[in-house]
């Protein structure tokens, strides 16, 4: 009977159900700090189970190529995961998203070449898996290029970009319709059949890769968290579509779970910027020059620089300090010095908290990862809505390489492009130190009136050097 169960795939399908259950539990446990590590392990067991039983299935006649792929891919993945620096995490996540998408695209293509009879449902699934997989792949590669600074991180816009994007989407839909229905417009229009399904597939791949590029190049550095979360969602949806191609439930369940979690993250990121997803995708935020926002008369007063010795004196007397990190902390790799400063302040009898804005950095949770790497306990990390109500009681806010997420214009200046965005209201603290390289404006060229406030002091220089300077003042 057991043999029979093997032969008619009952055993395999039961194992797929178990694998789906493990994914569900794993993902659930991943969303709480105490159980997250176990959750990841549970979900990896589900994956192992799914892969092992697939290898047992009777459709498989040869193992050599599978093993080459498994061992090769696994080894590269393991090396990358072990050697990657925590500061490079956004790039790695982008790249892995892209490979997942590419893999789904290839599964769909491989299935088309294996198709013996024309089958409408299979064609629809192949078409959709190809499009989502292709967009995920090329979009992720562009995101990777921008994050790793192989490409300029600024939004890249050209005239007619939206029209071109719209045109590509239209062409894709048309082609998808042709691909599925076998009714080729070219045949009707020109009276000859110059295109068949396999050529159509190649065209589909080319166009979806192009669409991924078009969607990713207008995204600026500060909007990266949104696009990374969205691509994460796409990588799940691509797997889900591949599930329809091969008629396999475990792909559909796992893929749609990932799709949903990615969409939830995307939504959190958009809310944290008070912008819609469409605005992020097509707004080209930060590409425009700052003419609309930096009216000459608007920002008044001079910036007040401060040196390390004077900052130390203020910090030494403070009884509560809030550290607000941003992308600048990642760039200068200041997280370890920041943790050291935090500990010295605590030893000095001061209450230290870290306020993390959801979109600080280049991917969701970027700052949390860096601070965790530097061994900062996660229970001293607070979110903006928790710390804003008690901001008046805080003696010193130290803003380290953050800009837009602390910009008071988001509350005060209706003409500001970021008006309405929930920010960390550091300007309400008694004193604000802003650690910044120079007065050059941030990614979007948006003026930050925080720098000109009465209670703001600018500590110019590399964030890591400034923080280390403060640390040595405390030690001496």
């Amino acid at each position: 009977m057991i043999l029979e169960a093997f032969q008619n795939n009952t055993f395999i399908n039961l194992s797929y159900i178990l694998a789906s259950v493990l994914f569900i539990f794993g993902l659930k446990m991943l969303s709480s700090p105490d159980t997250a590590q176990r959750g990841n392990f549970v979900s990896s067991l589900g994956m192992l189970l799914a892969v092992v039983v697939t290898l047992l299935s009777k459709e498989i006649v040869s193992f050599q190529f599978i093993l080459i792929g498994l061992i090769g891919g696994g080894a590269v993945g393991a090396i990358a995961a072990i050697r990657i620096k925590m500061t490079s995490m956004p790039e790695l996540v982008a790249l892995l998203n892209g490979f997942g998408g590419a893999s789904s695209l290839l599964v769909a293509s491989a299935e088309l070449f294996a198709l013996t009879t024309s089958n409408l449902v299979a064609m629809i699934a192949i078409g959709i898996a190809t499009i989502i997989g292709g967009v995920t792949f090329s979009g992720s590669l562009i995101a990777f290029g921008k994050l790793s600074e192989i490409m300029p991180g600024k939004p890249y816009l050209f005239i007619g970009q939206k029209i071109l994007t719209g045109l590509v989407i239209l062409l894709l839909l048309l082609l998808l319709f042709q691909f599925c229905s076998g009714i080729f417009f070219a045949e009707i229009l020109f009276g000859f059949d110059w295109i068949n399904a396999q050529y159509a597939l190649i065209l589909l791949i080319v166009l979806s890769l192009l669409l991924g590029i078009l969607l990713a190049i207008p995204i600026g550095g500060a909007d990266m968290p949104v696009i990374i979360a969205l691509l994460n969602s796409y990588s799940g949806l691509a797997a889900c579509a591949a599930g329809f191609v091969i008629g396999n439930n475990v792909l559909i369940v796992a893929g749609s779970l990932v799709g949903a979690s990615g969409l939830i993250l995307t939504n959190i990121m958009c809310k944290a910027m008070n912008r819609s997803l469409l605005n992020v995708l097509f707004g080209g935020f930060g590409a425009t020059d700052s003419s609309s926002s930096s009216g000459e008369g608007k920002v008044q007063g001079d910036v007040k620089p401060i040196n390390i010795a004077d900052s130390y004196l203020i910090l030494e007397a403070a009884s509560s300090v809030l550290i607000v990190p941003g992308y600048g902390m990642a760039v200068s790799q200041a997280q370890h010095s920041v943790r050291e400063l935090g500990e010295l302040l605590q030893d000095n009898g001061c209450e230290v908290k870290y306020a993390i804005h959801p979109v600080a950095g280049r991917m969701p949770g970027h700052m949390n990862v860096l601070l965790a790497e530097a061994n900062v306990s996660y229970d001293v990390l607070v979110e903006p809505q928790d710390v804003n109500p008690i901001m008046d009681t805080i003696d010193v806010c130290i803003v380290i390489g953050a800009n837009d997420v602390v910009n008071p214009d988001a509350r005060e200046d209706e003409s500001s492009p970021i008006y309405g965005m929930p920010v960390i209201e550091v300007d309400r603290a008694k004193t604000v130190f802003v650690l910044k390289r120079s007065m050059a404006s941030g990614f979007a060229g948006i003026e930050n009136s925080l720098f000109f406030k009465q209670n703001t002091r600018m500590l110019f220089g590399d964030a890591k050097e400034s923080v280390s300077g403060l640390v040595s003042e405390f030690k001496s």
């Binding site: 994914f23 569900i24 794993g26 993902l27 991943l30 700090p33 997250a36 590590q37 990841n40 994956m47 892969v51 697939t54 498989i60 006649v61 599978i66 792929g69 498994l70 891919g73 696994g74 993945g77 393991a78 990358a80 995961a81 925590m86 995490m89 790695l92 996540v93 892995l96 490979f99 590419a102 789904s104 290839l106 599964v107 491989a110 299935e111 070449f113 294996a114 990374i228 994460n232 691509a238 797997a239 591949a242 329809f244 439930n249 475990v250 792909l251 559909i252 796992a254 779970l257 990932v258 949903a260 990615g262 993250l265 959190i268 949770g365 965790a372 790497e373 229970d379 990390l381 979110e383």
Partner: protein
């Protein structure tokens, strides 16, 4: 009919996904993303079937590349997530 069943599973799983993860502390945003990404490497199952099946060489070739990329995605995703989560400690 089989198509209908697959669609049924799809719709239920999407709802399940939204219910499952609706409240995530921001501390876990990155690991959740990379852990979820590793799960999306489940497409590896389809890749294995293409790569080892009794079919044309082009299917096998495409399948093998897919196995390579999906394994990279799965192994890399789980390991790096684990590495990050190990750092998240309450002191």
């Amino acid at each position: 009919m089989e198509m209908m069943l697959l669609l049924f599973v799809l719709v239920l799983s999407i709802f399940l996904g939204f219910e499952l993860i609706n409240k995530v502390p921001s501390t876990l945003h990155t690991p959740l993303m990379s852990g979820a990404n590793a799960i999306s490497g489940i497409t590896l199952v389809g890749a294995i079937l293409s790569s080892g099946g009794d079919s044309s060489s082009i299917t096998i070739a495409l399948g093998t590349i897919a196995v390579f990329l999906a394994s990279l995605n799965v192994v890399g995703g789980y390991l790096v997530t684990n590495r990050m989560l190990r750092m998240f400690k309450k002191k």
